[in-house]
Subunit: 332 residues, 3 copies
């Protein structure tokens, strides 16, 4: 995949120093971690830090986006990501409007771009877009004035998931630089994996991807990470292990990626026995929803090394930060 292909044309000078020498965010879109510098990523994390406090208040509400409209455009289903963005928006007093492709004019032959332009004409300020096609949010971002936040495009990127994962690592382990992280599972089809690999490397961490050869394409090396097919060999070396969700459809039919779920769990599942051979403070992550007993056992998922629910909580803060930053840039 050509890196340039997806970049937003209008964000040519995304970082500028403000008059007082401070960092100024100037990107109206968040399309991927691919296009962000280390400094930009850190700026989002720091902004999220300040929003995190809002969620601990008795009245969890700030007026930051009052009178703005956030359009949630889900051309692909995603209950959790939709809810997280929706709550992030309303926590900042924005109005939200939901569009899903079911039963809508998408079915009637309208192009995606026409759909977005029409909803933009209704006065939507920020679009949060989930789309089955890699690069769809990038194409849209070049054609509309509103801000575009990529909520997952095909097998390309899921930048807010990458950011919330990195935010959680920084929170739990105090830093990202110098850490070694393993990402385990269906690397080939995972936008979560891609955004994590890109973001972690930009912040100075080392990434190894782990999984069966059918789910780990050799070309992933070009992203700068190493590859392993042996989880047991890798686990003792890493500070973070991110267990991807296994899609059941990979285990059925003629083109199945693996003989059986049981065998997968044996070879690539994280369980208590394996955890014992890890560093004591290893951080266990999962983007959810988890398949208990498949890629992760209940004991590990609910154990002290796990930060799965913290990831969800941090997702709110990260998404508040992203919505806020792109909205501020759009006003300039």
């Amino acid at each position: 995949m050509a890196k340039r292909e997806f970049s937003s044309a209008r964000s040519s000078a995304p970082v500028e120093a403000g008059e007082d020498g401070q960092f100024v965010w100037t990107r109206k879109d968040l399309l991927g971690l691919d296009e962000l510098s280390e400094r930009q990523i850190v700026h989002i994390l720091d902004t999220a830090e300040s929003f995190k406090e809002v969620s601990t208040r008795s009245i969890k509400k700030v007026p930051a986006l009052r009178g703005k409209v956030v359009g949630l455009l889900f051309f692909e289903d995603s209950t959790r990501t939709r809810m997280s963005f929706e709550l992030a928006a309303s926590r900042m007093s924005a109005d939200t409007i939901l569009f899903t492709s079911k039963g809508s004019s998408v079915a009637k032959g309208e192009t995606t771009l026409d759909t977005v332009r029409n909803i933009e004409a209704m006065g939507v300020d920020i679009f949060v877009i989930r789309h089955g096609q890699s690069g769809a949010p990038h194409v849209i971002a070049r054609k509309v004035k509103s801000s575009i936040v990529n909520a997952g495009d095909g097998s390309h990127e899921h930048p807010t998931q990458g950011l919330l994962d990195i935010f959680t690592i920084r929170q739990r382990l105090g830093r990202v630089k110098g850490l070694k992280a393993a990402i385990v599972g269906d690397i080939a089809h995972s936008r979560v994996a891609r955004s994590n690999i890109i973001g972690l490397q930009k912040l100075g961490a080392e990434v190894v991807v782990v999984g069966p050869p059918t789910l780990v394409p050799p070309a992933i090396k070009e992203m700068g990470c190493s590859i392993s097919h042996d989880l047991d060999e890798i686990l003792p070396q890493v500070d973070v292990v991110n267990m991807l969700r296994i899609q059941f459809e990979r285990f059925t039919g003629a083109g199945a990626a693996f003989p059986s779920m049981r065998e997968y769990a044996n070879m690539y599942g994280l369980n208590a026995a394996r955890l014992k051979r890890c560093k004591k403070n290893i951080l266990v992550m999962h983007p959810g929803p988890i398949n208990r007993g498949l890629e992760i056992t209940t004991e590990v998922a609910d154990g002290p090394n796990s930060c799965i629910l913290q990831q969800v909580t941090n997702g709110l803060a990260v998404r508040m930060a992203v919505l806020y930053l792109v909205s501020q840039a759009a006003e300039k």
Copy 2:
């Protein structure tokens, strides 16, 4: 059904006297009328009374739950109950977020508890849960910190429906104690019947359940009510008659509970002729949606003894009261 099985472990001391000797609500959950004392039920009704006035204002809005998030979790469809809770929440300035099990990660094999815990991690304060399994909200309430309000669980309880029915009786007839109420129809499968029986009895009313033997299980006597299969015999004795909705699926197939809908209407439907033989001020109730001409005729449903639409209106006030009370208890 064992009573203890469903009770919320953390609500061991649900009623306390405040410093000034006043009644203090300390339950973070509302799971069923089963677990409430007479005094607690009356306290909800009295609180609802004070919220009822809000809905008559030109600006129907109070800031009672501003900055709180109410998660509406409907694992089973229910348009009306969802709308009533949603309006109750927004009337108190809460943010709401809707989760339905269609097209969501429920289909992907995630457990109900993981779903709820994940949404809780997004900062939801109160969950309103409708679930097909009896006891599901009770299990969840023991595992999460957020407040749980049962919006109907299997054939177990539908406490806010019971409360709004009792609220309406008190409003229309001035009292509950000493009244005699008939509940007519599919008692076996009705959580509305159960919550009514429990609540009415706790407040000193007498309940008789009426219906064909196939829909009225003898074991219901253990709840303290009497059983009749003859509506005409019972009607002249009662102050309140609550006509349950008939489910069409009970009339079809090999295991049909009754030969035909027409025959059911003849034996257990409420019509003008039957109403003439009732007490003059008999209160006619129905949880809706009504099947006109089946369990109730249009003449009766829209007549002066009917309080069907008042029940709906009172539902808002009762749900506002419940959301408010559990939220206050959770803050302590």
Copy 3:
């Protein structure tokens, strides 16, 4: 169609002069342009003009309907119209509640009127109703106290679409009186066509409807417009051309209205060649969603004569005005 059949009984004296001699809006419902006078239509357009400014502010929000509840009742799917009304309502600080007929008690045999009455009993102030049956909103308006806004009923009227089209014509061409407008396509089944014909004529414009004989019923002449089957003959004469969306189902099966889509596009599609033969400032309209290359080419749809996205933007302002006016009338 008998005109009186659909009129709202309670709106017998819809226009009155206020104490200071100013125009006072007294209609609690907006059912169709059919029942409005020229002065009433102009009053809605003028009110929309003042609301249009709100959408250009940084904080796009006014408290005009704070504490009011707008119920969006879509018995027929319509993503765009639903979103436009929802955004219009929240821009005026109203709470909204959505009801769609899927998976709801409609499927359980409840009458439409019972559904509406029940939701009204929850405290809804204004209903926005889309219904497949012509006249359904009119029947409902006679039976409930809440305001009813018709968001499209069968093949009868879609008054806010008509109003936003006329608003856009007035904005772009400076006037409506004396203009000549062509409406092209499936006139027989189009509520958009009907509301445009009625509204444009009331404001002094001349309307010609254009399309194949199978889609243009001769009886349409009774509405006061002329008929043509030759788009090329008509185009040079008109100031406005409104291209209706073609429904794919009209081209398939035994009762197909036209031999093929390609042939339809050749005869009745608007393309660059045809546009050259039009008046220089001809205004090109389309209610959306557009079928690019069928009833309109991309070049024309995105060209300088097109006002398609402006129509969408104006839709918000018009709907804000309508919700505001009916709400004010209901308070009296």
